[in-house]
Amino acid sequence: MSIEEPIQESVEHASAMIAALRVQQQRLTALTDVMRSVSATLDTAAVSQRLVDGLCTVLGANAAGLYLAEGARLRLQAAARAGQLCAEPELPGLLPDTQTIPQVHQGRAVLIPVSEWQPLAALDVTAITSSVLLIPFHLPPDGILCIYLPSMSEAEAEIVAFARALVDHGVVAMQHAQAHEALQRAEKQRSQFVRVVTHELRSPVVGAQSMLRAVMHSSAYGFTAEQRDILGRLSRRMDSLLDLINDLLSLAATRASDYQQPLVSVHIQPIVRETVEYLRFQSEEKKHRMEVVLPPLPIHILGTKDGFQHILENLVGNAVKYTPEGGTIRIALRREQHTARLRVEDSGIGIPPEALEQLGQEFFRAANAKAAGVSGTGLGLTMVRLILDRFGGRMQVESQVNSGTTFIIELPLA
């Protein structure tokens, strides 16, 4: 026996081990890739599709399909074919439920020869498929993954364990996606509920306020000064109630995803002009000096017209509301490198330092705002914050009690 032989043997052994390790390494990389891809979405349809695509690729399968229980049957949710996405699944659309496959029903994965797999008959991958791997998929609803493998020769236990690891991860990703979708549905229902309720609340208040104003305006009734004062108080109460209802309605609409318009390029100078014009009447009544500085070159932000208008109405509206008679309001728009910078400055009552932190919380109003007897709901800035979040914008507030407040908004350019 030559001395080379054991060495030769060791070298071969080492090479085989290296090759095996490479395969393992490739599998692990593929596994991580699939896991990452499956976890990167919160959409149940996308999770299913990525899972079957991933399984198909990683296991070198001819095809893979995810079936989920629907009544007594299992319905195909997503399908993939080797090397390409399966636009039209060629797998059977329905399978008998898991109870007819006892091992799967008991929660075990099973690899069966293709000859024993009845539903495969219709497939064009039949000729090249030698076995079908069935893996239980435990969500509610329960389901099954069918993976059509080209050969039986690979280490059976290993491939089954590997596929199971992937599928288990897919189940978790699916649970996350389901929870996310349930949350979105709940949020949408909540918003719709608030909208319907607010609308129903609005109608009677609008009716009552309209009649009250008509009666107060009419000279036919000969009210005494005291009666007139009471009617005035009633009318102001109703105005506050309407403000609250309107703000709740806007808030619900801002949050309702079905009401969210897609973000587009919005030319903002005309919106600033319109909004200032809209609020000018109230401002003139209080003899404010209102200055508006707009750059001549158009500025386009990425947002929605309604959203930007809402931000402005709130900020400029607040400035008008909280600035005493004869005060000054300055509105300035400027283009920065990546953002549009809107500055709304007033010489109003200001915001106490302790209130600055709470600004934007639902229903929060600073003590001095309430004490000033200015009506408000504490929802305006909540909406501004929500809209800014959506546009990817930022808000900054500087204020000094009794000397004024400055709001600075920065919005990403389109």
Binding site: G207, Q209, S210, A214, H217, S218
Partner: protein
């Protein structure tokens, strides 16, 4: 005395509008649906129309305005095309149609928020009637 047609399916709002307009010295006729509005229009030939947006449907008022102002030369309401229209809206109303006078889209002369404020309402009515009288 100028005659004004008030179209609103909410009798309380119609009443409020009528009280304000009568106080302003106008004659008022009421209609409570789109159908009734068209019949009353032909019968009374008003000088101005005050129209609510949301009636039987959320956009009934819009549709009525579009019918009245139809550019179709054979429109049966051709004779009434020039009657000014004030549309009463709630800015926060639950419809996704944008509010704001747009001559291409919605041919009405003015929008007023509900609940209407009597002084600005009468001012707007007076303005529109003056423009109409001048033509």
């Amino acid at each position: 005395m100028a005659k004004i047609l008030v179209v609103d399916d909410d009798p309380d709002l119609a009443l409020a509008a009528r009280l304000i307009l009568q106080e302003g010295g106008y004659a008022v006729v009421e209609a409570h649906s789109s159908k009734e509005a068209l019949d009353t229009l032909v019968r009374e030939n008003p000088d101005l129309i005050v129209l609510d947006v949301m009636m039987d449907t959320t956009t009934a008022g819009f549709q009525l305005a579009l019918t009245l102002r139809s550019p179709d030369p054979d429109s049966q309401y051709k004779a009434y095309q020039n009657i000014p229209i004030i549309m009463l809206t709630a800015i926060h109303e639950t419809t996704n149609i944008r509010f704001g006078p747009d001559e291409h889209y919605l041919p009405v002369e003015a929008f007023l928020d509900k609940p209407v404020e009597p002084i600005s309402f009468l001012k707007k009515v007076g303005e529109l009637l003056a423009i109409r009288a001048a033509h």
